[in-house]
């Protein structure tokens, strides 16, 4: 099996790990967004959805463990790549200018990624591990978004996630070797569209709750 190790542990193998886990996260974001849309339905709709989800029981746990594993792989591999890339240029340029290749997303992947990581930790503490003895999940979410600091941070991070996936989405296709003049423009377009959907989709929900829903 040493070939498998050489394969996965090469620079290209690590890139494939990043692309695979990253792409799965993109799919997770879509599911998560659909779930969150229930918040527009109000307290009962959202609590009902949450309850249904938890009735899946062990399936939820398996899914969560999968996400955790993928998260660890994505973060550790990303950190190794970031370190190696940094080390590949011991003397930096005095003047750096772009020839037009890089985008906001591609130039900031490790930094936006790190911000998302920090956010995810607090996000889980806030909502996943929250004490639900005296409040439903809707109340917990609603209380959080009526706090201006929470609201602002959440919206900011949703923009950060959008920036991360604006490059990540199409980049994963390129890493899988799926680049062809026939369909690359479509994938690039989808990538941008996906970033907008994620940013606006996730970002607008807390605004809606803060402005149009009572605590």
């Amino acid at each position: 099996m040493s070939w498998l190790f050489s394969f996965i542990w090469s620079s290209l193998g690590r890139k494939l790990l990043m692309a695979l886990t990253g792409f799965c996260f993109c799919m997770f974001l879509v599911m998560h967004l659909f779930g969150n849309l229930m918040l527009y339905g109000g307290r009962d709709a959202f609590n009902g959805y949450a309850e249904k989800l938890h009735q899946l029981g062990v399936l939820v746990t398996v899914f969560e463990l999968g996400l955790l594993t993928f998260g660890i792989i994505h973060v550790l591999t990303g950190s190794i790549l970031f370190y190696q890339n940094f080390a590949a240029r011991p003397v930096r340029y005095a003047v750096r200018a772009s020839g037009g290749g890089q985008t906001l997303g591609s130039a900031t992947m490790p930094y936006t990624g790190f911000l998302v990581l920090v956010f995810v930790v607090f996000h889980l503490i806030d909502f996943h591990f929250a004490d639900r003895t005296n409040a439903t999940i809707y109340d917990i979410v609603s209380t959080a978004f009526h706090d201006p600091f929470h609201l602002a941070t959440y919206i900011f991070v949703m923009i950060v996630v959008a920036v991360h996936v604006s490059h990540g989405f199409w980049s994963a296709f390129q890493t899988f070797g799926l680049n062809h003049v026939k369909y690359m423009p479509l994938i690039k377009g989808l990538s941008l569209a996906f970033a907008f959907v994620v940013g606006l989709g996730f970002g607008f929900i807390p605004i809606y709750i803060a402005l149009f829903r009572g605590q």
Binding site: W3, S10, S11, L81, N85, R89, S106, S171, Q174
Partner: protein
Amino acid sequence: MKKSIDLTLKIWRQERTGEKGRFEIYRANTISQDMSFLEMLDVVNEELTKEGREPIAFDNDCREGICGMCGAVVNGRPHGPEKGTTLCQLHMRHFSDGDTLVIEPWRSRAFPVIKDLVTDRIALDHLIQAGGYISVNVGSAPEANSIPVSQHHSDKSMDAAACIGCGACIAACPNGSAMLFIGAKISHLALLPQGKPEAARRAIRMVKAMDQLGFGNCSNITECQAECPKEIKIVNIARLNREYVKAYLVSEEK
């Protein structure tokens, strides 16, 4: 009408590998805009030599954009600000009177500075060596139609083969990755029947060598594609990715 311009140059000077370098400021006065960038440096060097100072070392050979010897980073851009040009083919008409130009060598762990703007790019030769051989018969030219190659494949292969091995892709990459270079070499051969038998071995060995030589990893930032003087495209990197996965999953190579 001929026009000449005056420039201020901030150029990286470094005695030898491992020694501390520094920027020094030079004036390049009455530079004809018909000159190439290297001819402009020749003028500066002539002045320096007359004054008994050490001329600025820079690599060059053909001066017609085909050998891949020249190259420096000008105001943050490998081979200067023009698209699809080598430094030797960059003309001074693209600069204006009074400009300040910061000129640095390729910066990469894999390319140590030998002197001033000259870097050691032997790592690229090691990559080629790692790629190994292809099987073609030597002797008189083979009959043209004995191995059919579609025009489509031959065009794409030629696009990749346009690589002159200057190293600008690595210099431009924020990660110092050599993936465009390898992608071009892999594509050049994998697209042709002559390169097929060893394609899997070539992909695995070249990537192994790349990982050992101190290059960074590709993040698909595409600065390489933007700066390549031969405008080689990242579809070649995607093909490399495919060839690599194929080599591990459906060939005997490891």
